[in-house]
Subunit: 312 residues, 3 copies
Amino acid sequence: MSDLQRFAGKDILGVGDFDRSDLAGLFAETRRMQRIVRERGATDLLRGRVLANLFYEPSTRTSSCFLAAMTRLGGSVIPISEVRYSSVSKGESLRDTVRTLEAYADVIVLRHPEVGAAKIAADAAKKPVINAGDGPGEHPTQALLDLFTIEAELGPVEGKTVTFLGDLKYGRTVHSLARLLALTGARVRYVSPPAVAMPRPLVAELAARGLEQSEHAELDEVLADTDVLYVTRVQKERFSSEADYETARRGYRVDAALLGRMKARAVVMHPLPRVGELDESVDDDPRTAIFRQVEYGMYVRMALLAAVLGRA
Amino acid sequence: MSDLQRFAGKDILGVGDFDRSDLAGLFAETRRMQRIVRERGATDLLRGRVLANLFYEPSTRTSSCFLAAMTRLGGSVIPISEVRYSSVSKGESLRDTVRTLEAYADVIVLRHPEVGAAKIAADAAKKPVINAGDGPGEHPTQALLDLFTIEAELGPVEGKTVTFLGDLKYGRTVHSLARLLALTGARVRYVSPPAVAMPRPLVAELAARGLEQSEHAELDEVLADTDVLYVTRVQKERFSSEADYETARRGYRVDAALLGRMKARAVVMHPLPRVGELDESVDDDPRTAIFRQVEYGMYVRMALLAAVLGRA
Amino acid sequence: MSDLQRFAGKDILGVGDFDRSDLAGLFAETRRMQRIVRERGATDLLRGRVLANLFYEPSTRTSSCFLAAMTRLGGSVIPISEVRYSSVSKGESLRDTVRTLEAYADVIVLRHPEVGAAKIAADAAKKPVINAGDGPGEHPTQALLDLFTIEAELGPVEGKTVTFLGDLKYGRTVHSLARLLALTGARVRYVSPPAVAMPRPLVAELAARGLEQSEHAELDEVLADTDVLYVTRVQKERFSSEADYETARRGYRVDAALLGRMKARAVVMHPLPRVGELDESVDDDPRTAIFRQVEYGMYVRMALLAAVLGRA
């Protein structure tokens, strides 16, 4: 029995659903998906299965990725990305929407602006729900693809130093990935302006789980030892003052000159979209993995869809 | 020759397109579709066929249902749900839009806010048009799935009592289903506030067709004899005064306590979305069929698509 | 080796990418696609391949056409038609959007309001980009389907007279088709109000390429000799004054009476949508090819997709 069989029929709500053994199984399945796509583009594994791609807020990247993943598995997709145009605008509850969609579909992917929405949906639905981001809550599939990216680019993350840069307060991507890294024996460095530092409770939680962490005001304090530089988008609306925003934006910009001070074997990542914090001058550097990261995301999500539908 | 073969290449504009024999054929095909989906998820029956899903007003439920139905038949779908963003916004006529889409597709499903739109589209198109609701006009596929639901849950509707509750004036779902019931030997009860009672001409028409009908101000007058309780959404915009709306909304709310006064073998239905008139406390009652009703809708629409494309 | 094999992996940015031999190869493949659709609806030629249909401005006709084309080739589509709702609205560059989508898809079709956008996308992407219109720039697939329409309806265009009517200044469709006609030995007549005449530099360019052209204020000067009447939409926003617009709109209206003065064997075309300049009274005239033109468009785009994906 493969490690992934226990996910058949299950929801994927947060990174807490995975232990080290699950990750190993998931990543083996992910590599299998990568080979299938490279060799023949697609498979019939999920033929006749339907995914409801329910997005209550826009995310072209994530919704397109799940759509491509389901399609390359031979399945099909009901795309619902305009909730103002759906029954929701007539006052329908998330529970009813989800119970309606599971009458048509075999699995539901949900993006929602409110924390806890994925849990509500999963409780309402008999069929598997995959959380594709619920507000400031979890975004487990992003964290899984991030971890897969690190290992695909650098090998096992154990003993490696992962440096998170930018907005660490509101970046659910950072929070979820840090939780996964706590399983792996990686070291973690946080570099951010004080206004958007890692939340204290999360740092405490991760410390209790044995994650080696440290916080820094300047990237140069840790750059030379960094194996993985994880850059995040700094969003103006996250800051209480224009001044704080400008500090965050200007002080944490990554460009080719900065990469010149990094290890020769390293990887630079970003969850995208970027809006200036990661300069295009880094794009041709082989260490910059941002678009490979996007591609790995499709393979990870293929593996997850196959798993919850009992075909992994 | 199956009863459905005469629908090959035909439009589905209203419930008047069906007689009792057609209904028997359609429902047999619907049960076949249900078996296919349950046993293997999908079929190749409509492989290579394309549906244009043309929605001039939002209806996530209906558009998703047709999309899932076509997909599970092996076909594919052109989803057009943003008419403000289409050629229509450049002033194109419905006729031209339909004649364009039939150049790409094999069948057109149309939802439009104006009564008669489906007929205009059907006259313009050489290929089959299925009316998925034209304003206050018809919504035949909803009525067909409603009737299928009754028979799937309770057996033949002949001799059964169907009680319609709520807004019976503007509810085209109620009008279409009542017309179908006139073919079947069912008894019908109407319970509504006076402001949104069944239209007089329709009551007269149904009487002329032999439907046994009666109207009631209070649900309790008919509840004990009701086999099917069909609850409709009460929409604020349908009422001329706030007071009338509040009367309709509060006086006709169905909850678990009310179900306690119903027959042990009965079915509670709702076309969804609901906005308070059918309390979530009824959801776990086995008589509440609202989400099974949704699922039956997919099988009915699969059968209809197969029929008009000559593959039933 | 077929004439189309050189397009494998290539971008389709403008009509300048095609010479006469390419056109012959493309149209042979287009006829093959037409036969496939007529005989069996679809093929598996592009099974497992994914198209990203990236529309930064609305075009139901073009996006639906590419979607149907890809689907009938056995492939699937990521439809992205709401850019205000995409990462773009978060400030993402076209380059990043394209590089993200090529991680999921095998080919990108791009509609964009700015001239040169297709070239930027093609430079950013490793995978083929097909220009589906970039503002006042090129719209090569429309020009190719227009030329195919002429030859499908009348045979080789060499020696034929093609009359363009209406807004010839802003009509990129006209510009692209005129460029293609310069390869073919056709004669071209331009009929337009002065405010929206063919651009001088383009007329000079086409003259240098040997295209026989002449300009006329009145359609009747050339109508009797016209084999192809190509009518364009006259858009109010193109005119500096209401008076100029009314002149253009009223003076160049084609109706059944006007067709009465044309050759018995001729073809009337329009890129659609029409908003009055081509009266519905012409629709039943066998010379009016506007909806056949739409259908040919699907076959041409099937041929192009097969070509750039190396399966033509």
